[in-house]
């Protein structure tokens, strides 16, 4: 059966990703790193939107909280221990997701979208307008976390190469976890909730705890992406939590194709590259100053011609081949 070999492509992609640093220029390597972090972020939202049918417009809050905790918890000078900092980031994002999810999941549809947005904006303004995280300027991460056992350092995220492999490993972990969830009873129940929640309740599934679990896992994974983003950039600012960021990640999974993990990754690649392209003065000249406009138009074009996302291209080609 074809589905039994579905793991081959993602694993091959991961191996290729791991081999890349040997051949890449520093700028490209940084770009790949950025894409990988955004792919984790997009995958976390895919769990909510694609698998469970919950469209959230406030997912950046969890990214931002993961990022801020990574910086705030390591400010006492010296490199913070990775084994504490990473769980702290992920757990904080998960905790806020639990709080937000408990309230938001009492609403549905467009109200759910609005309430998730409201909670994300609340978190945004806490970091933007108070001294907690350095206000609108954000804060720097002076020393990057280190995993050391008995005095010898195993992972030092200040090292570009080690950071790269950590991010690739995190992406592999996220993809693997979500692939497992998809094929499990839990994932099938989430698919049922997306398809017909009324029937799921009539069959005997308490759907609220299922949705809450999905929301918290999605928040935790977004927190993981936030942690990696903070370590990669060495700085955080409130824009990480803004609704632009929530909208961008939603666009990524729409662009790639909602309902598939590969789609989320492809969407993260396409969106990041498209944004780089639209911002490139070398390619677009003065138009690069108005990159939001060109990016917007290109996304409209993509969505109009590829309503099933880039992943839908594969299906179109297959159908085309059959016709011939």
């Amino acid at each position: 059966m074809a589905t039994d070999r579905a793991w081959i492509v993602p694993v091959a992609a991961l191996v290729a990703l791991a081999a890349l640093p040997g051949v890449l220029a520093p700028y490209t390597q940084d770009l790949v790193l950025k894409i990988a972090v955004y792919a984790i972020f997009a995958l976390s939202l895919e769990l909510l939107v694609g698998m469970t049918g919950l469209v959230s417009l406030g997912h950046a809050a969890f990214l931002g909280i993961g990022a801020y905790v990574a910086v705030l918890a390591s400010r006492d000078g010296g490199a913070a221990p990775l084994q504490w900092l990473l769980p702290a980031s992920v757990a904080s994002a998960a905790a806020y997701a639990l709080f937000v999810g408990m309230l938001c999941l009492r609403t549905r549809g467009v109200y759910f979208i609005m309430v998730t947005l409201a909670f994300a904006q609340m978190a945004y303004f806490v970091f933007h307008d108070t001294k907690v995280g350095g206000g609108s300027d954000g804060i720097f991460l002076y020393a990057k976390p280190v995993l050391a056992i008995a005095g010898s350092s195993l992972i030092d995220l200040d090292d570009k190469r080690q950071l790269y492999y950590t991010v690739v490993a995190a992406l592999g972990f996220t993809y693997g976890l979500l692939a497992l969830i998809r094929r499990s009873r839990f994932g099938h129940a989430l698919t049922g909730i997306r398809g017909n929640e009324q029937r799921m309740r009539a069959a005997g599934f308490a759907t609220y705890p299922y949705k809450l679990a999905a929301f918290v896992i999605a928040g935790a994974l977004a927190g993981l992406a936030g942690f990696l983003l903070a370590v990669k950039d060495g700085t955080v600012n409130p824009e990480l939590l803004s609704w632009h960021e929530s909208g961008a990640v939603l666009l990524m999974i729409i662009l790639g194709g909602i309902g598939s993990l590969r789609g989320a990754v492809i969407g993260a690649i396409a969106f990041t590259l498209l944004k780089e392209l639209c911002q490139s003065e070398a390619l677009l000249g003065p138009l690069a100053g108005h990159w939001q406009l060109t990016l917007g138009f290109s996304i409209i074009a993509f969505v109009a011609w590829l309503p099933k996302g880039l992943i839908g291209l594969a299906g179109m080609r297959r159908r085309g081949a059959r016709r011939v």
């Binding site: 499990s184 009873r185 839990f186 029937r199 009539a202 069959a203 005997g204």
Partner: protein
């Protein structure tokens, strides 16, 4: 007469100033098909929704096999043995016929934390699904998308999805709606078959069908029960003839 499996005592549901169901009591017993008839807006669907737990009752009491389940949520009641079908077909159109049934069977053994186990390898839900599809006459189309089935087959699928967890109580909201003659016959045969092992509540508009299969008929008008008895008595009940069957019937 056997003990009632599902017992409702003076159930009332108010929506603002409107009393949709007013002090309705009924008992469902195993081996008995209890039909509820009434004109549109008589409160039949509201009654089913209260029994299945989709709507809380404003007042009254519901017992399942002697236990007070009035405050239980719908999923909890479903797991305790109350299955239901809907007036509008309620299936998963984007999933296969088999997965529709298997997913419902999974409710009996949910284990959501066991993410390392594949749902498709869940033997208990697969076996239950295969049996339910066979008894609903859908065994030959398991891989078809449920949304592509004919209307009658979708109704059959919905029954299979209700049966798959073997609930002793079945609440069926107009299972014959929109069905052709042949499909109706098949469904009636299924209902008669189910009756032996289940307590059935049937809300239905097709009077011929109701009088053929029902053991007890309850007649509702404006949210109230005006008569509840065996079919022969109901057929000749003067109030029922006036209120529902029409004067000249």
């Amino acid at each position: 007469m056997s003990e009632p499996l599902l017992l409702a005592q003076s159930l009332t549901r108010r929506f603002g100033g409107l009393t949709a169901v007013n002090a309705v009591s009924l008992a469902l017993r195993q081996g008995e098909l209890h039909a509820v008839i009434g004109t549109n807006g008589a409160g039949k669907s509201t009654l089913i929704n209260m029994l299945s737990g989709e709507l809380p009752a404003s007042s009254g009491r519901i017992e399942l096999a002697g236990a007070d389940i009035t405050a239980w949520s719908q999923p909890r009641r479903a797991r305790a043995g109350i299955g239901r079908s809907y007036q509008r077909t309620t299936i998963f159109p984007a999933l296969s016929v088999f997965e529709n049934t298997r997913l419902c069977a999974q409710a009996a053994k949910q284990r959501p934390w066991a993410v390392w186990q594949a749902a498709d390898h869940c033997a208990s839900s697969r076996d239950a699904a295969e049996q339910a599809l066979a008894s609903a006459g859908l065994a030959d189309v398991p891989q078809l998308l449920a949304g592509l089935l004919s209307h009658g087959q979708q109704r059959q699928l919905e029954i299979a999805m209700c049966l798959v967890t073997r609930p002793p109580v079945l609440l069926l909201d107009e299972p014959l709606a929109g069905m052709g003659a042949e499909e109706t016959e098949r469904m009636l045969a299924l209902l008669i078959d189910l009756k032996r092992s289940h307590a059935l509540l049937l809300v239905e508009h097709d009077m011929d069908a109701v009088f053929r299969v029902a053991d007890v008929i309850t007649v509702m008008v404006n949210g109230e029960v005006i008569a509840s008895d065996v079919p022969e008595v109901i057929r000749n009940h003067p109030e029922v003839r006036v209120a529902y069957l029409g004067e000249g019937h």
